[in-house]
């Protein structure tokens, strides 16, 4: 499997990263270098092997579904790039 310019543009779009056109080709080369190396895994027989997502071996702990923290509007907004009247401000999304 290898990626071309169009695929890189698609990945960049999915990742929400602006990639200028002149960077698409070099990025394709870099990503292909990594992907070709990763393809080494195809040698490994993984038939009947369960995927391992977590090494902890314990079930996730349960707790009561109650509020444990809150009422911290000032903390939540203390690093906001743009805010107004206790809200986050973003470019208009609804006409």
């Amino acid at each position: 499997m290898s990626v071309d310019k169009t695929t890189v543009a698609k990945i960049a779009r999915l990742a929400r990263i602006n990639v200028p056109d002149d960077r698409l080709e070099p990025l394709a080369t870099e990503l292909n270098g990594i992907l070709n190396w990763i393809a080494e895994l195809d040698e490994v027989n993984t038939d009947n092997v369960e995927p391992l997502a977590s090494v902890t071996g314990h079930a996730l702990p349960m707790r009561n579904d109650v509020v444990t923290d809150g009422n911290r509007l000032d903390d939540v907004l203390s690093n906001v790039p743009e805010g107004a009247s206790g809200f986050f401000v973003v470019p208009k999304v609804v006409e």
Partner: protein, 493 residues
Amino acid sequence: MSDLLGLNAVAAREALDKKAISAVELTTAYLGAAEATAGLNNYVALTADHALAMAAESDKRIAAGAAGLLEGLPIGVKDLFCTKGISSTACSNILKGFVPPYESTVTANLWAAGGVMLGKLNCDEFAMGSGNENSAFGPAVNPWQGKDKVDLVPGGSSGGSASAVAARSALLATGTDTGGSIRQPAAFCGVVGLKPTYGRCSRWGIVAFASSLDQAGPFTRTVADNALIMTAMASHDAKDSTSTQTPLQDLIGAVGDGVKGMKIGVPKEYGMDGMDSEVVTLWEQGQAWLRDAGAELIDVSLPHTKYALPAYYIIAPAEASSNLARYDGVRYGMRVDAETLDGMYEATRAAGFGEEVQRRIMIGTYVLSAGYYDAYYLKAQKVRRLIKGDFDEAFQTVDALLTPATPSAAFPVGRKIDDPVTNFLNDVFTVPANLAGLPGIAVPGGVTSDGLPLGLQVLGRPFDEASLYRVAGVLEQAAGFKMTPARMAGGAA
């Protein structure tokens, strides 16, 4: 007391308790050391007033006979840990100016034990790198130099932490290790670095890179110092769902226990083609030291070792692409304005993330995307189980494993590498332990013919850090590593 910087943490604790020195004196000495070695760029923020205020509080507690485990000891913090009211950036432009309104659990534990915070330490952006060259604050530099006096990398991603402890501008330091980011820089800088078992330290308040692999741990000058700070760092934390309830062993007591009767495995797959001959020699020397101390050395096989790196470079970027989706210019951090919301996201992330971070997000996005998920991500998770299985099998027979920490000594800053894969190879000996969630420690073992430190790595069973400290204690004593780097605060001893 004239040589404040010469005291290790255990010795400094004793001197503080005996009132031979004060915490304010000690902290003042370290702040001076950090300024004197500023050229190493290992601090990204020095919090002098905060440090002196904390030290004054420590002196009061010592006077009142209420000293904590780390009372009065000056500690540097990797900039990946959120520290309340103090800029925390993960060394990324996208978080420049971010001031957390909360404290990470690990650092909160350190301050509760009486530790004094000196400042924030340089690292690779979002902990992605093996040389500390991917930092928005510029590279941190290794205080060690070869004969040609060229600046060397301290390793990464916790490069600032390793550099500061080696240069004696921090007595202790925190780091994080996702694929070797504590053990590799510890080896490059000639200090002791522990990656605990996954789940041993809380991840709460640490900027996430790859959540199933990330683990916090300490950098120190000695093995005993390491057991001391580790005892304070570890805790169960309900705020991290993967945090363990397994009780912590007596780590401090384990350091001097020796290895008599222990079975130590030597995995043959860690002897790789093209490995530096000096690394092989040190590895053999380490085996001899342990045998002389009464351990039984056993050859073992970890057959899937060579697949650990490629599996890691699927799993870690996949998790990173998901974790880093939160940097969107809306709630905190950098924002680049645009006409549309998507345009704002795309412009912000293009301007805020560095090259390596962007590359890893793209790889992660690709391997998780429709049509490729099974071929890459699921495949890597299956290989991960086989790698863990190799270790489980080996630990049926042996109590710990001895390996080299890195395939070479530190390399020059700015070394031109066109192929990103070449840089990944630095982590070949450290990555498997992250995939399997095992604890690992790097201990300085000797120097190359060029005078640069090399480390040995000990890996152990989950939640058996005590065995690592037993083995590391013996290696430390046998190696008698007393050399100090050229660019150390106060000059070489």
